[in-house]
């Protein structure tokens, strides 16, 4: 075990993946010698050479298209999109190409192993072009897998699993936690399962569900709720696509209540999908309406970021409202 922040854990995962498989190639804007604007690819070019870790021109659609081609040839590209806010020029390549490569060819070709790493989310005074959480757009696309880690240990294990996955993965990294989240991380290679949620704390009265950077926020809310005698079950969804319906449904069948928290705006957010599925699966067990604590339906603000975010206090209020319905 070693103490690492999330960037170090990601860098360590990339290092191990590149050492293990010479088909793994890392690239993106400023990813080469500079090591990425957040330093996630630090020292990888020195260690593995310019052919396997390099800068690209400023073209997200080019990066995504290039990654699709490399993966189709059988290599394992790990492409960085510098901010999730800038993934949209690559939307066509990801949604129409990456996601459909295996299906449309009848399995003649595939882009398994391809990973798009991209920092997402707010809390860094980044305004609306450095703070977005675009996971719901991609969750509507069959063929993709979507993973969001909450801490360094999770980031390393889930990233290694993503690189080793036979399907393409979008790996959203909570940039707010890049340096803020520090924890014990095994130094050796390990994988954590994609598509499985983790029950972080068991409880009896209400299930509280989130992912990524919101986990520490909802943990705080759960602590406040527990302090006033509300027993909470806390779940980290970890994968948005496919998402672990069984674990969430089993929890809600026990607690009868569900509060979902995400950073992205409310309308069309992934919490809506979860709520619809869970009300169907758990209808007769529900004691109160499923509540969503999300960003407002506005672009991500700057000066009023604190007011906008789905913070611990809003989540605490939702937990109380759910239990006291």
């Amino acid at each position: 075990m070693a103490k690492m922040n999330m960037l170090q854990a990601i860098n360590n995962a990339l290092d191990l993946a590149m050492a293990k498989n010479d088909g793994v190639v890392c690239f993106g804007e400023d990813v080469g010698h500079f090591g990425g604007v957040f330093r996630a690819t630090s020292k990888l070019q020195e260690k593995y050479g310019k052919a396997r870790c390099f800068n690209t021109p400023l073209t997200e659609q080019g990066i995504a298209g290039f990654a699709n081609g490399m993966a189709a040839q059988g290599m394992t590209p790990v492409a960085e999109i510098q901010f999730a806010d800038y993934i949209f020029p690559a939307f066509d390549q990801i949604v129409n190409e990456t996601a459909k490569f295996r299906y449309r060819s009848g399995n003649e070709f595939n882009v398994g192993g391809l990973v798009f790493r991209t920092p997402y989310g707010g809390g860094i005074a980044g305004g609306h072009y450095h703070s977005q959480s675009p996971e719901a757009y991609f969750a509507h696309t069959p063929g993709l897998k979507i993973v969001v880690p909450r801490n360094p240990h999770q980031a390393k294990g889930l990233l290694l699993a993503s690189i080793n996955c036979p399907d393409p993965v979008i790996f959203f990294e909570p940039k707010k936690l890049y340096r803020a989240s520090v924890g014990e991380v095994p130094e050796e290679y390990y994988e954590l399962p994609i598509g499985q949620a983790e029950v972080m704390k068991t409880g009896t009265q209400v299930t509280v569900l989130a992912w990524g950077a919101q986990m520490e926020i909802v943990e705080k809310a759960v602590e406040m709720a527990e302090a006033i005698g509300i027993s909470c079950e806390l779940i980290d969804l970890r994968s948005i696509l496919p998402w672990d319906v069984d674990t969430v449904a089993a929890s809600v069948q026990k607690t009868g209540r569900l509060v979902i928290n995400h950073e992205a705006p409310l309308t069309g957010g992934f919490a809506g999908e979860i709520a619809a599925t869970i009300q169907q699966r758990c209808f007769l067990h529900l004691e109160s309406p499923i509540l969503r604590v999300c960003g407002l339906d506005t672009p991500y603000p700057l000066a009023l970021e604190k007011e906008y975010v789905a913070d611990h206090l809003k989540t605490f209020e939702a937990i109380k409202a759910s239990v006291n319905f």
Binding site: P57, G62, M70, K100, G106
Partner: protein, 393 residues
Amino acid sequence: MTNPNNATISTVHHAEFTSGHALQIPTLRILQDDGTLYEGATAPELDKATALKMYQTMTFIRVLDERMLGAQRQGRISFYMQCLGEEAATVGSAAALDDADMIMAQYREQGALRYRGFTLEQFMNQLFSNEKDLGKGRQMPVHYGSNAIHYMTISSPLGTQIPQAAGYAYAQKLRGLANVTICYFGEGAASEGDFHAGLNMAAVHKAPVLFFCRNNGYAISTPANEQFKGDGIACRGVGYGMKTIRVDGADILAVYQATKMAREYALANNEPVLLESIAYRLGAHSSSDDPSGYRSKEEEELWRKNDPVARFRLFLLQKGWLDDDADKAAIEQLRQDILEALKVAEKVAKPGIEHLISDVYAEPIPELERQLAELKEHIRKYPDAYPITSGRM
């Protein structure tokens, strides 16, 4: 002095524009309409067997196109796209490649596909989206693909294959393979962002790609003069710092020679090359299009005289490599073979219901298994409404 701008600075002391048409790229022409060579031109080295394979591929495609457009008009298939007028561009370029080079086409390159060895049955199975289709009946007609012969499955969105070709070729280079990737697209698709992204990525990362632009004058109904203002597409290759060549796309000898040269250069130098083929889309864009709404019969007739198949045929006859009667008989036989294959393929069953969810992922995710089970239950309830699958579950 360092050069952080990566630009040549030759200084002038009075302001002067460089014209947007300062760079005019010549067009390589070898074979004339009458089957003889242009004065001063030399035919590329081409043995009789290869030349005949090229010719037979062209006639195969022409007969197939004619028959399958007819099948679409009869309502037997839903959609079709002809290669008419561009047979030399697609066959001549494919003939200049190694069989293990990757082909990433747009959709009108059945000539290249056939040259690689895609069988008549494979064409038919795809066109009828039956259970023998390699693509499992998932894409509209003409979206062919085959891993075995290195022909990437066609994707409808225009130009998406361009940056992919850069990545594919980069991977070939990293693997140490002595192969290139050829990437076909039209002059219309060259307006897509992916064109610029792909050419720039390939140039910067030194990927051995042959970007083959089929400038056929039209993007559906939009003529090239409403598509771009520069001198064709070729001048853009120079802008991206890559070797570039323009050829008469109805002249199979010119296309073959240019592609051969481009391949050798790309492989030896790990660099992309841009080729621009100038030909004319003699047919409609697709079976859903009617060109009489946007171009004149006179214009079409003018270009029909440039027929790439007739031109090459004359060349082969004059060389004594082709027998007129035998050729006519072979084409008649081909018509019959195609009709037979069509009748067989249209009777083959559609893919089974399990292929509704297969290949979305390497293994179906639980939610897909659940949705399929639910669907099967529904089909069992209303079997008459779902005749393709209800009898086979």
